[in-house]
Symmetry: C2
Subunit: 330 residues, 2 copies
DNA sequence: ATGAAAGCGCTAACAA
DNA sequence: TTGTTAGCGCTTTCAT
């Protein structure tokens, strides 16, 4: 029996290769007897898939350890990997001296140990992604990512719609002065949230008021200035903003939501869970993780078929705990 | 420039191979320019390490998703993988139809995609481990595992000593009738706990009293029988036993620890955290995970060097919240 | 100091 | 229906 026959049997090509049933059985028996297992490396050298999906985080600590933001994505990734019958390769070796993780380090790109990869994390540096895309390496980013000159695949929460909905929700409660509070630094997810806010305002016919501020600058004095505009509701980028605002409101003897409604568009960035409960948009992290893997496998299965490869997953609406109708005009 | 020269440069063998500095620079420049990256599959085909560590769980869901028992081990594994500069391959594809995960499935052992593996989970079936050991595959089990005829490597909490210490601690409080309560089914960790208990009793010169019972059989009636022996303290295998005992004690109007001291040797098996706080031995799960990876890498680095490969990691002592001196004899 | 060549285990096209 | 063979990309020994 030649290697070719064994190969055919192993790969279930016995039919198409017209291997006699008797031979097939003989081969299978020997395989079992000798405890033969195919060598993945050799197989992959021949251009076949390894059924391994890479997972790369740009942040320093791998999401396994964390009860935060990234952990839920990873859970979804893992769930779908099971469904798709793929193994998961976590690139834990890529730690740079600065704690960040790089894709390309001195020409030894570990990514090729996997068939494709899911990428996670907030990176300002898009050049690696551009490079990767140019190299034709199949990957899906978690969260929208715009890379100039490259049309990369991503799956992310639909921040824009969530944000727009938040405006509509507040308007339905009677608010006409709704401000947006968020970080000034540019980043895709933030841009989406702000854009959604503006769209919501336009639809409702109310003036947009974006108050961009760093969290540490959000003082009672800043708060006074914000209130001077006559706002009755705030849409904040993250719950951490809401927490600061609660402090400021307390200092000014205002109560939430009686005097001021607050809706948060995102929960913790990291660190401990916040103390107060906020009306907060729910991020579909598990689903995003699952869809990312699903998309990646589809891309791997049929590389050249054009398809939707930028997917926005709907967020769940906020509850009404910190939303109320505006107080009567003073 | 031939491939041999490039290979030498890539693998930092420029010195030993006496490649001229000028040539080396030329090669490095080209590598950068062309964006060349070595093919891991080809390299591994030549027998070189991949710097990939496998992680296999026998339980159905991968520990990533869970806030339980296994998750902490995985955290330690991940931490050490970063330190050792290895990637982690999670075998999420091995899911059997019954939800359990098998090492050997129809001759396609995925384990060989990694250089070695860390194995996790409670398996009654040791034949796979025997097989793996025979095949010469390098692996480390999390938790002591005895496989007949094979001398396998493992790293686990030192249950025996923890258990023995618990006895000593209770004896120091004046207890002379201390019972051990645990599951009757055999399993390495359980055996260790019970053995430690017996050792502790022997040292203290008190009679051992092992009350093996399934959790669902732990009723108030059973509790009455246990109390009839005159015990003043209980060492329980898991907090879930302690919880049941608290219920029984409540039903009999006994208070813990005034009327009965309780020490738990392990916390949750799975499921939600328990409500009551118990004096419970702390399991060094993170450390165990780290040490397992550390040992595995050592084994990989020097396969034939004999070394300590069965490591017990000390547990942390229980606090005194449910320990008191025994009540005066009735 | 550099090049030539064998061979790792596998798959697939082709020959018998 | 089965066997032969080239070659995937790399490392390493030996020759130059």
């Amino acid at each position: 029996v030649s290697r070719a026959v064994v190969s055919a049997v192993i790969n279930d090509r016995a039919r198409t290769q017209r291997i006699s049933a008797e031979t097939e059985q003989r081969v299978r028996a020997s395989v079992r007897q000798l405890g033969y297992v195919v060598n993945l490396a050799a197989r992959s050298l021949k251009g076949k898939r390894k059924r391994i999906l890479g997972v790369h985080t740009f942040e320093s600590v791998f999401p396994i350890a964390r009860r935060d933001f990234y952990h839920e994505f990873l859970t979804g990734i893992e769930e779908q990997a099971v469904v798709e019958g793929h193994d998961l390769l976590l690139f834990t070796s890529a730690e740079g001296s600065d704690g960040r993780r790089k894709l390309y380090s001195d020409g030894s790109n570990r990514l090729n140990a996997a068939d494709g990869a899911v990428l996670l994390g907030v990176t300002e540096d898009h050049s690696d992604l551009f490079q990767l895309s140019q190299d034709g390496y199949p990957f899906v980013y978690i969260g929208r990512r715009d890379v100039h000159g490259a049309d990369i695949a991503w799956v992310g929460p639909d921040y824009a719609t969530a944000s727009q909905d938040a405006v509509a929700r507040l308007v339905a409660h009677g608010h006409r002065r709704i401000a947006y509070v968020g970080y000034p630094q540019h980043q895709e997810a933030r841009a989406d949230r702000e854009t959604g806010y503006r769209t919501g305002c336009r639809i409702a016919g109310i003036p947009p008021l974006a108050l961009l501020v760093n969290l540490e600058d959000l003082s009672p004095e800043w708060f006074d200035l914000a209130l001077a505009t006559g706002v009755t509701a705030l849409i904040v980028e993250l719950e951490s903003f809401a927490n600061r605002i609660a402090e400021c409101a307390g200092a000014r003897h205002l109560s939430i939501p009686a005097d001021l409604s607050v809706v948060a568009l995102g929960d913790i960035e990291s660190g401990p869970a916040t103390d107060r409960k906020w009306s907060c948009v729910g991020l579909p992290r598990r689903t995003v993780g699952r869809q990312a893997v699903s998309l990646l496998v589809t891309m791997l299965d049929a590389p050249d078929v054009p398809r939707e490869h930028q997917i926005r997953v709907p967020c769940t609406p906020p509850d009404e705990s910190t939303i109320a109708s505006p107080a009567a005009a003073p």
